[in-house]
Symmetry: C2
Amino acid sequence: MPRKLEFDRNEAVAAATETFWEKGYGATSLDDLTERLGIGRASLYNAFGDKRALLLEALDEYSATARRGLNEALASNVSGKIAITSMLERVACCDGTAVRGCMCVTVGIEINGADSEIQRTIINNIERMEDAFAALIVRGQADGSVKPEIDAPATANALAALVVGIHSMKRIGVAPSGLQRAVAAQLALL
Amino acid sequence: MPRKLEFDRNEAVAAATETFWEKGYGATSLDDLTERLGIGRASLYNAFGDKRALLLEALDEYSATARRGLNEALASNVSGKIAITSMLERVACCDGTAVRGCMCVTVGIEINGADSEIQRTIINNIERMEDAFAALIVRGQADGSVKPEIDAPATANALAALVVGIHSMKRIGVAPSGLQRAVAAQLALL
DNA sequence: TTTGTTTTGTACTAAACGGTCTAGAAAGGA
DNA sequence: TCCTTTCTAGACCGTTTAGTACAAAACAAA
């Protein structure tokens, strides 16, 4: 019966994700969003509620994409070590927009626990990554590509911290070569 | 001849450091600063120039403190491995205000390369930490506390990334237990 | 076409922002 | 005591902020 939305909702969320990813939450203004999404303020408020709700939708979309990436790594037929290698090397990539780092890390650091719903979403993503690393270490120990004596869940924590650190350092602007050497060194330790 | 400053400049910079450390740069308002420093706007502008200049002074003070910490670790008489252990364990500490993470990481991520002077200061701190780690690894290899086959500078990059990651995760709100396990696992790999 | 519902563009609000200005207070030299 | 210089408090400035009000436009059912 009524009028339809003139824009594609998924496309709008994707555009919002890009914007928050690039600038963080607080530094993204409504004008930034309306310009990037190509819609007016009223449309944005009508469709999403407010800026924070739009961020939550963007985080959900980002999380879903991240989860797909982890599932691909887990589903692949390569050895545990190789799967971990490709994950870490993808993180250390600094081409194009990758220097923005990780949206969850950027927003999570900015939020500083002041919004528990956002915080929970972000921590959840990190924990999922830790689980994936732990599973791949176990797989690597089974197929002989990872040293048998290492503690899988604890080392998974260390790998996750390394990943978060590399994302942070990319955004800070640390030279890419050092990040790639860090990944290579860490892989050599496994 | 003329009137003297009514406040202690060093104390004011220290208070500004606390404020920026806690809230980041953009989210710290002039009102936050004047309240925390206990001085008026005019005094702040008279003594420091503007908000950004005050941040730079705060970063300098923070950097000096960090450098002293690194020099202490380098000057201590313990083995390389033990010196690295105490550095990492101090980073993983989540007591009190330590959950704020590292001021350089927080501000550096927020700035996102938009201010090259601030960026340079922060990257400099990270590189100094990498140098310290590299020296301690070499020392550890000399005294037998660190495996001889590892690549010292590259592994120093990895340790620095781990440290930055732990600082980020502390601020994001990840459970401290996981961070401590990450440190323990990383130490076991050296 | 008429009616009812929703979206849209635009103008607006109230608050907060960084920064400046001004009036006056404080302090040393003459 | 006066004069000069600097510092301080607080009002003030223009801009930007997130969010809202409202009327016009678009669509679908009748």
